[in-house]
Symmetry: C2
């Protein structure tokens, strides 16, 4: 791959499109933040950063880049964990975080149309004021909706409500050649050719740049109740989950957590969790339109848990109490990060009845490789977040152990019919593992799809299947 370097003429043209010097950054004026995402390990500075405000700006810059063979990397708030927003071949970063307007709440079609830079936390706030609900609930609330769409983020409520893809009805997309197209729309059904909308969701900005999205909303459930359920150990806790699923109660979320993670979060947040005396916990939420509506379900689940060895069942039905539990859950990643020098993560997803086996396996790996590993995650949907911590290892020891540990874990996931990524994506960091998991044939098909959208390989090159 040989790309053109950004020169004076390119800068002049791009500046003329943007016509606002405060939204174009070149050379030393580019913040170091643009060289990486939250993963940190992969770094590359872009040659020019453009903060766009309109689809037309994206379209013109993309068209110019395409004609002049300059690579383009789209970026939201940079909260990714696999290097998707890192400009591996330098070139142009199109920063979409300032394209952050709510465009239309359509109550007759139950849709919200918005720009890609709107933050996840703003969406829930906005729609809840209208008694509506956007169910996807990834832990990182400062991510943009564009980023969530590009990784097909899942979050806590996937057990009951599914993932981001299930709530994307339509997308406006700037193609690699600069043309603007609409995939899907406000329609509820669509069987009009290959589903380019579903292909774009989860494509990590390699097939087109999302410049507008129409999301499906639901009526807001009026009541939510959380159960915090302590167990004597993690095995017992997690092995209860398939029994809960089988009972046909439908929790909104089922998370598992260990004492160590809770204590870290307490320290990190400087406030106490309702209980930290047990080794392991399940945290469940139920939602519905009234307490009566959901109490049969949560009572059934509480009974199952007690029968399977739960030590107690704490029921939280006030907002304050639920807030204290879920804020601890939300702080796990930051707390773990603060406890070590560097880390990397495995975001596998396995069938729900294999979670216990996978978590047990990570404990064995921790011992076998003598490296600190922390995990928490979505027991109810099979998506684990396993963090491998560097602590005091030297650079060389760290890379050697990290590679070996990751290889071991991805092999185990494959053995359990799991997938490389549940919601963080492939980006740059997980490419090799994806290739190993799905093989040449499927990688070649993906590369062929990439070529159908981007024959010159200029949009976010070096990611996913390349």
């Amino acid at each position: 791959m040989s790309y053109k370097k950004v020169d004076k003429h390119d800068i002049e043209y791009i500046s003329s499109v943007i016509n606002d010097s405060e939204r174009v950054f070149v050379g030393e004026n580019i913040s170091e933040d643009y060289s990486h995402d939250e993963l940190g390990a992969v770094k590359q500075m872009p040659e020019i950063v453009v903060q766009v405000l309109e689809t037309e700006e994206v379209s013109k810059i993309m068209k110019y880049a395409y004609e002049n063979n300059i690579p383009v990397t789209p970026r939201g708030s940079g909260t990714g964990l696999v290097g998707s927003a890192v400009p591996l071949h330098s070139g142009i970063i199109i920063d979409l975080s300032k394209m952050n307007k709510m465009l239309e709440l359509d109550e007759e079609n139950l849709t919200l149309t918005l720009e890609p830079g709107v933050l996840l936390m703003e969406i829930s706030k906005y729609v809840e004021e209208h008694d509506l609900f956007y169910p996807p609930d990834p832990g990182e609330k400062t991510a943009t909706i564009g980023g969530n769409i590009s990784t097909n983020a899942g979050g806590m409520r996937a057990v009951k409500y599914g993932v981001t893809r299930d709530y994307v009805r339509g997308l406006e997309v700037v193609l690699p050649n600069g043309k603007v197209e609409n995939f899907g729309g406000k329609v509820v059904k669509n069987s009009s050719g290959y589903s380019l909308k579903d292909l774009m969701v989860g494509a990590e900005g390699t097939l087109g740049i999302v410049t507008k999205a129409t999301l499906k909303l639901l009526p807001l459930p009026k009541k939510a109740i959380s159960l915090l359920i302590p167990f004597k150990d993690l095995d017992t806790a997690i092995e209860t989950v398939p029994k809960i699923i089988k009972s046909k109660a439908i929790p909104t979320a089922i998370e598992f957590m260990e004492r160590a993670a809770i204590v870290s979060a307490e320290e990190f947040l400087g406030k106490k969790f309702p209980d930290n005396s047990s080794d392991a916990y399940l945290l469940l939420t139920f939602d519905g339109n009234s307490k009566e509506d959901i109490e049969k379900d949560y009572e059934k689940v509480a009974d199952i848990c007690l029968k399977e060895g739960a030590l107690d069942v704490f029921i939280s039905d006030t907002d304050e109490r639920q807030e204290s539990i879920w804020s601890a859950r939300g702080a796990f990643l930051e707390a773990i990060k603060a406890s070590t020098t560097e880390m990397d993560e495995v975001d596998v997803v396995v069938p729900r009845n294999k979670v216990a086996e996978f978590v047990k396996f990570t404990k064995d790996v921790e011992k076998q490789f003598n490296i600190r590993i922390r995990s928490f995650g979505h027991a109810g949907d099979g998506n684990l977040h396993v963090y491998i911590l560097r602590d005091e290892l030297t650079e060389e020891q760290w890379h050697e152990k990290l590679n070996a540990v990751m290889e071991t874990m991805y092999n185990k996931s494959k053995e359990l019919n799991g997938k490389v990524s549940g919601e963080h994506g492939i980006g740059f960091a997980k490419k090799g593992y994806l290739h190993e998991a799905i093989g040449d044939e499927m990688i070649n098909i993906m590369a062929g799809i990439k070529k159908a959208f981007d024959p010159k390989n200029l949009l976010n090159p070096g990611k996913v299947c390349q």
Copy 2:
């Protein structure tokens, strides 16, 4: 495109793979049924038909066809309406209707794995015996699940539950080169590269042949109630629908029907509908776990309808009574078909608040072109089924009027931000209209995707985007 004709050697090889002469048909032994689907207007006989029983048979035949440049068309029960299963270039038909085994009901993961030839009506029966629920509910219950997946069929319950794609977790697929791959699986989340699973759903058998599917199930709602609501005219009925959606009640289904369709269905079935004295009706269903659970919703909706001009509200909460209503609804298509000499259909989907405008438009078209048009459909999800009837028109008059009427309707759909097909697909019959609706750029991308899967264009050629 130049394909090889099937010769003696090909027949010998294929017969050796199948090793059962009762499942291989050649020449005059091929039933005329294989030359068409329910659309009827597009016909072509295959050179050889193979009724497969195993993935390995599909794989071997596909591999042989690929190496020998022979086109292959997969087929389920042939209930399609756009010619997707018609072997336009002759060659081999792989009939998957006898691959019809239930393989595994996994209650810990709430999934059903099955072969593609299982009929839709068998799925609901099977899972309901286990207190589970497969929500997609297209009208044609003798369709295979493979066909439903290949068209991304929607059905009546899409208002609340979504479409087939939302319930396909994993697919085993034979690629055009004969290799067997798995897309997705039992996992709830997946962000591991481009979503080939979602691409395969709705691809109408042009990208690969589905040989196994893993479906997502839900717990079976314990109670369902239907409301039959007469209105003085169709406009008033349909204009009430966006108000129902806006009220945040969530009906399972909202269908509209006119007196003429009901009378036809009564005649066709030889039994009476609960009421046929009004010009237009809305038919709604609500489901949940108890009467209390849903009565607030349906009472709210009944009040809205009465306020908007409904003449009455008939509540059906017995199975018998609901059966009599829904069996009439299920017979509309057959009844209309029996009332004319030939027909064609438009399966557009528009945003839900544009249904009234589109239906009014079809009435104008009926007058303007002096041709009989019947419509019914899914008012709650915006998917209309509009049937244009030939009656006594000559061949020439029919084609001339049909083309003009269709063109007019697809233009109107586009004007309302609708799509060419809500659930029947594109196949052969709607290719031109798809191209017109989405333009060269998107058609070229789709053709590029087709090429990534099928570089020699041997699997179901001449459909969707070619």
